[in-house]
Amino acid sequence: MVAARWHQFRDSGFYHDFSRDKTAIISFFILCLYVVVCFSAPLVAPFDPYDPTVIDIMDSEIPPAWLERGDPRFLLGTDAQGRDLFSTILYGTRISMTIGVCAVLLQAFLGISLGMIAGYVGGSLDNFLMRIADIQLSFSTLMVAIIFLAVFQALFGTELYERLAIVMLILVIGIAEWPQYARTVRASVLAEKKKEYVDAVRVIGLRPHRIMFRHILPNTLSPILVISTVQVANAIVSEAALSFLGLGMPVTKPSLGSLINSGFEFIFSGSWWITIVPGVVLVILVLVMNLLGDFLRDVLNPKLYKN
Amino acid sequence: MPGGVPCEVRCRHRDPQRDRSCATAPVRIQRRHSIVSLLEVKNLEVRFAMRRQELIALRDVSFKVEKGERLGIVGESGAGKSVAAFSILNLISKPGYISSGEIFFGGKDLTKLTAREMSQIRGNQISMVFQDPMMTLNPVLTIGTQMTEALHAHQDISREEAKQRAIETLARVHIPSPATRFDQYPHELSGGMRQRVVIAIALITKPPLIIADEPTTALDVTIQAEIMELMMELCESSGVGLILITHDLGVISQMTERAIVMYAGRIVEEGDTRDIINHAYHPYTHGLMDALPQKTKPGRRLNQIKGVMPALSSIPDGCAFNPRCPLVIDLCRTTLPQFTVFGSTRVACHRAAARTD
C-alpha cells in the first residue's frame, strides 16, 4: 500500500519537477535539517540554556570559535549572559518554529472552517464573513498583534505575561491571519460548487458537511499547501518582530527574535555575533520556506484568490 | 506606412496605374487569373517548446488566399486552425514558435521580418478579429482610444481626422450613435456591440486581409448571425480578403468561397467551399458534415464522429485520423497519405478514391 503510494508519487509530475529544481531540493533539505536538529535540541545541544547552573557570567561575550579569543567549547560564541549561543539558538529556533506552526494550524483551522461555511452557505452570511475578512486583512497582523500584546502586557504585568507568552503569540498570530485561508478556501469552494459532481453527490442525498469535507476539501488542498508554507514563514517573522519589540518571548526562554533583541545593543561594542548569528539563522529558515512556497506555487499553480 | 488603403479599394476609386499589384484584375474573379496571391503559406511548421518535450502543433501547412477571397479554415478544437491563423502575424502564444516554412505577403516572407517590420504589417495590412469580445478590448481604455491608436500607429493622421475616421467606421459596423460610443468604455457595451467594435478596429486601417478567429463562438446565437452577416457585407462591399476560422461547417458554407479542413495539425482537405460541401472526399470532412444539426432528423441524436482528436503528444503513425476513420485500411496505420487532386479539391487520404463514386 505504502509502496504503491510511493510509486504513484514518484511517477507524478510533482516529483519530476521537484527532482529537477535544485533550489527546491536544497531548500527542502535545509528545512528538514532545521526540523530534525531543532526538535532534537536537548540531544544535540552541548549546554542547556534554561539551566542557570551551567551558565557562567565569566564566559560572556566570547566570540565564535573560529575567531581569535574564541573558545572551542562555544562553537558560535556566547551571549551577554554567558550562555552558549549554539545551544540557545537551537532551543530558540525550536520555539520559533513551534509558534509558527501552531499559529498557522490555528489560522488554517479557523480560515478553512469559516471559508467553507461562507462559500457553501453563501448569501448574507458569506457577505458578512468576507467583509470582516477584508477589514481584518487591511489592519496588518503585526499592527493588531503589537497593540493587542502591548495592552495585554500593560494590563497583566510582565511577569504573568512572560509565562503566557507562547500561548498569547500563537493565539494572536493565529487569529489575525485567518482571512488568508478563508478567502482561498471560499474561492475554491465557489469554483467546486459549480462543478457537476457536487450536484451529483447532493442529489444522492449526502449531508452538507459530508459534501464539504469529503468532496470539496480535498480539491482545495493544493492552494492550502501553498499558502501554508508562506504563512509559516510569515508567522515566524511576525513572532520574531514581536519578540524583538519585547512583546514576545522573554530573554530567559528566548526565541530567535528575543535573541536578536538581546544582542542588538552589543553590536556597537563589537560583539556582533550575539545578534547577527541568530539573525542569519532566522533569515535562512524564512528564505527556504519562501523558496519552497514559490516552488509549490509554480508547480501546483492554483488560482489563488486575489482581490 | 503610406499604403494603408487596400489596393482593391484604390483600384475602384482611384487611378489603377498607381498601384502595380492592383493592375492585375478586378475584385471578384481574380482568383484564377492573378499572378501573385495576397497571402501564400508554404510548408509551415509550428512547435511548442514545453517543459519536457517539443510538441508539433502544425505540420506542413500550405495554402493561399487571393485578393478579396474569403477562405474558411475548419476543424475540431485542437486541430491547429487558430495556431495557423495566429502564426501568420507571428502572434502565437509563448512556448509556440514557427520552426520552419514561409509566409509570403506583399512580396515579403513574414517569418523573416524584424519585430518592427512585423508591427507595420499587423493591423495595417492584416487585421485580426478575436474570439471573445469580452476579453479583446482593454477595459481601462475608451473605445475611441482603442480605435484611433491603430490609425496613429500606421498613418500620419491628426487627432481630429482619426476621430472622424473612427466614428465613420463605427457607423459602418452599424453601431447606433457612434459619436457617443467613441467616448465610452468597453464595459458599457454588450457582447455583440463589442464584437462590432472589434470588427471596426480591424477595418479602420482598411487592410487587404482580415483574419477572424471564431468571431461568433462567444456570442448568443441570434447575435452570431448578425455578426456573420455584417462581416459578409463588409467583405463584399470593400473587397477585403478574409480568413475565417471556425468549427462550424455551416458558417463556412455561408461565408466562404474556399475552405480548408484541418485535423491534428495538418490540412486534410482543401477546395472550393461548394465542392467540399457537396462532394467531400476525406472521411473526416464527411464526419463533420454528418454532425451538422441540419443533417440529423429532429429528435435523433447528432451523428458525432466517434472518438476524440489525439493530443499533440500522441498523434498516431500514418494518417492521424485512422483510429476514428470508418474506412480505415492497414496502409492508413503506417503511411502518411499524400495529397490527391480531384477537380478543385486536394485531399490527403488513401481512401479518397473510394469516395469518388
Binding site: 496588518s140 500593560a154 519589540l245 556582533w272 | 491608436e149
Partner: protein, 328 residues
Amino acid sequence: MFAFFVRRLIQATLVMLVISVIAFSIQDNLGDPLREMVGQSVSEAERQALREEMGLNDPFIVQYWRFLQKALRGDLGTSYFFKRPAVDVILDKLPATLELVFGASLIIILLSVPIGVFAAIYPKHWFSKFAMGVSIVGISIPVFLTAILSIYIFSVELNWLPSFGRGETVEIFGGWTTGFLTRDGLVHLILPCIALSSIMLPLFIRLIRAEMLEVLESEYVKFAWAKGLSPKRVWFVHALKNTLLPVITVGGVQIGTLIAYTILTETVFQWPGMGFLFLEAVNRVDTPLIIAYLIVVGLIFVITNTIVDLVYGLVNPTVKLARPQGGD
C-alpha cells in the same frame, strides 16, 4: 462620485467608531485616573466619592459617550509621563514618522514599478533573474534585522552613516519639523528609509511582475499587438494601467503593515517618531498616550485607505463613480 464619496465616508466613520470603542475599553481597563491624581494617602471612602464625582461609576455607554465627545474636541487626556495633552505629544512626533514613511514610499514607488515591469517584459534577462533573486531574499529578512544589519555595516563597521536619531531638523509651516531640508537630516533619513522599505519593495516588485505577466498574457494585450502598436504603447498604455489597478488595492492594504513597520524601524534607529513613543508609552503604562496613538494611527489609516479607494475609483473606469447612465 458624490454617492461613492459619501458611502466611503460612512464606512470610514464606522471604522473610527470601532477603533474608539476599543480605545475606550482599553482606557477603562488600563488606566485608573485616580492613581495619577491622588496619592496613596487618600482613604477608600474619599476615593469612592471622587469616582462618583468624576462619573467613573456611570454605566459604560455613558462614559463612552463622554469619551467620544471629548475625543471629537481633540481631548484624549493628559499623558502621565509628559504631563501634557496626549494628542499634543503625539502630534509633535507625527512629522518624524510621516517623513520616514514618505521617504520609504518614495523608494518603493520609484523602484518597484520600473523593476517589476522590466522583469515582466524581459523575464529571461539576467537583470530580471537577479532582481527576483534579491527580492525573495529581501522578503525573507525581517525589517528589524535589515535595520540592524545596515547599522552594523554602514555605521559600526564603515562609519559612513549615522545610526540613530533624526539629526538636524528645521521647522517649517509653523510647527512641522523636517529633516528633508538639511544635509544632516537627509543623511539620517537614508538608513531608516531603506530599512522601512526593505520588505515592501521586494513585495511590490514581485507583485507588479506577477500582475504584469498575467496582463501580458491577456487577450486584449494580444489584440493590441495584433493592431501593430509599438511595444512601448502596448507595455505602458495597455498593460501597465491594468497591472497597477490591483497593485493600488494591495497598496491600500499594506498601509497598516507599513505603520507597524515604522514601530520596528523607529525602535532600532531610536527615531523620535510616534512608533517609538508608543512603545515607550506601553512600557510606562501611559494609557492616554496609548489611546492617542491608537486614534491618530486609526485616523491616518482610514484617511489613506479612503484616498486609495478614491484613486482606484478614478483610475478604473469599470467602477461606477460618475456614470449612472450605463451602456446598452
